[in-house]
Symmetry: C2
Subunit: 405 residues, 2 copies
Amino acid sequence: MPTLSVFMDVPMAHKLEGSLLKSYKQDDYPKKMFLAYRVCMTEDGHPWVSPVVSKLRMQIAQDPSLNYEYTPVMGMKSFIQASLELLFGKHSQAIVENRVGGVHTVGDNGAFQLGATFLRTWHHDSQIVYIISLQKELHGLVFQDMGFTVYEYSFWDPKRMCMDPNILISVVKQAPRGSVLAVGNIADCNLTQSQWTKLMCIMKSKQIFPFFDIPNQGFSSGDLNEDSKILRYFVAKGFEFFCSQSLSKNFGIYDEGVGILVVVARSNQHLLCVLSQMMTFAHVLWYNPPTTGARIITSILCNPALQGEWKHSLKMVVENIVLTKEKVKEKLRLLGTPGSWDHITAQKGTHSYLGLNSQQLEYLVKKKHIYIPKNGRINFTSINANNIDYITQSINEAILFTMGL
Amino acid sequence: MPTLSVFMDVPMAHKLEGSLLKSYKQDDYPKKMFLAYRVCMTEDGHPWVSPVVSKLRMQIAQDPSLNYEYTPVMGMKSFIQASLELLFGKHSQAIVENRVGGVHTVGDNGAFQLGATFLRTWHHDSQIVYIISLQKELHGLVFQDMGFTVYEYSFWDPKRMCMDPNILISVVKQAPRGSVLAVGNIADCNLTQSQWTKLMCIMKSKQIFPFFDIPNQGFSSGDLNEDSKILRYFVAKGFEFFCSQSLSKNFGIYDEGVGILVVVARSNQHLLCVLSQMMTFAHVLWYNPPTTGARIITSILCNPALQGEWKHSLKMVVENIVLTKEKVKEKLRLLGTPGSWDHITAQKGTHSYLGLNSQQLEYLVKKKHIYIPKNGRINFTSINANNIDYITQSINEAILFTMGL
């Protein structure tokens, strides 16, 4: 009799994600379209790459002085330095005081993995994490798998069809003392200065630990400083925090996972202790992070002319997003689509809520072959001159159809 | 009063490794040398890169069709396929039967991380791991951190100054039923065919689960098939196992961590279940693996002419290692150094034991500024025409000096 498989008890895993993309790929309809790509797309439907990146790839491949040796566990020092300056500004007081540092990670998942591992071991106050629901699937799982209790919150109010920044304040009010608050893309949060101040006040009194996520600095306003302004405000107010800084999306290096787990501490001494512990975790997690992306980015950031080209390319992307949203709104207005569509232009960034209900979304997917995630948040860079009419007409149809139900 | 730091209880971490390299770097002695590099070195003391890799880097940088988009969680399919064929042979029955698969990982650490995560969840038999002591620091920690009980074993018998393949058999004899046996670089294990057969017999009866490590296929014998022969033997005997396959070292792409966690299962159905579970883990660990290295390697493996160039470069490396070991032995003989030095040429691979005791090693580090790890295992590719005389004379001195103690 043959022996049984060691794996006989292992069932097929539930699909985590990608099933929407899978359905899209299996669809034979010629006009099908997918509006849920994570990456920024170009006008002709390809993943966006900052033009200066392609130039650097060539330069690096031709450089005979590079030896592609193992990087230290901490990662590329020059990359970390340049990225921190991007986040906090060159003349940041915290950088001058040597109390800001980072570990080069395998993308933002790596940064959350490393941060969560650290907090599990050293954050004795609480093992509770509040996370924005958009990030739940990607980063919430990291915390969950490590035994944290994870609660979701969402900025989007589907009834009022707008972002509700007050949600963050009510989350913090109810959170137990010492909880971790994962704040997704702060530049898209829509909080006013006074709302941030109020939030900080409560966070400080309850010792809530912030874990920020900067997935694509520059893609909200087109201005790098503007997009990390709030982070600098937290530093100025004396907060200690972690921040996942990803540079894959805003350079267009998606296949590398170029990330940093940023640490802001009260003093250099605390920072060094935290980083030393993180190195022991990174040693076990991946030993040395991939450097191709980091090398490209460092070369760009350390050269003012190249950095200028890159910044310009970010501005162009954001201008295009703003224009696309305006066009979608205008086309819906011209079609006489019921409802106000101001919420589309009121949201910043590549991804925004369309503000459709589940029946309308189902209509778009099933009848019009337009693939949109269940939360109705689409990638606006996927909309271009070739498909904007089909998309807006379909949205109009979906709304008229479901009104009659 | 200022608030206290969140990190106030975090101490400085103990140094894991790298302190030998650090001491070396801080040493001002002009003739200092470091014989503990993990990577293969060239005659002129640089990390080795297969010449065909540099060529491919250029080609890939110039390719306008590449979009550097996110790879799927599983990684690059073509890379996995080509690497599995390298390991098991193109006409492997297991490949034909679709019961061999893999997940593209962030280097070998990633492969062990993923494998250990899986085993923690699904290997209910036992949470005990036996691991070769050389790998303890790198991979043993991965298991330890996940709560496995980890025992070390070593092939090297310092008294008899030889590799003792029987150690593996005695380890397996005493291991509890269902334990995991991590077997480092099988090509360097020195077991005879009949010893392997005996080992397999015990492993099968005790349901010991093998977790192989193929860190640099081709670097033991210069022949890829020869170096993975034993793995194929395990497949033929109906074993199910995991194998960490790293392609960083044998291509010379050290800064990328190009790895695969290979899974051999009894049937395609079992394989698919295992891979689906692994995808959920990889999703949390790193989401998408870095692809630069994988892309280069796939292009080489899928082109017979380029693959030929690569294989030739491996042969050259191995020929050079064999020659260096012969030279070291001969020089020690000519110096009249006491003892037999046959154990140097009897060992295969880039790294081999010198067979010195702790006093002799201390003498070399402290008096001669030759940096060698405590286990006395050095990287023979670090020895070249410029330093071989100094090294052999120093070894001779160390032995004469400690004989007089």
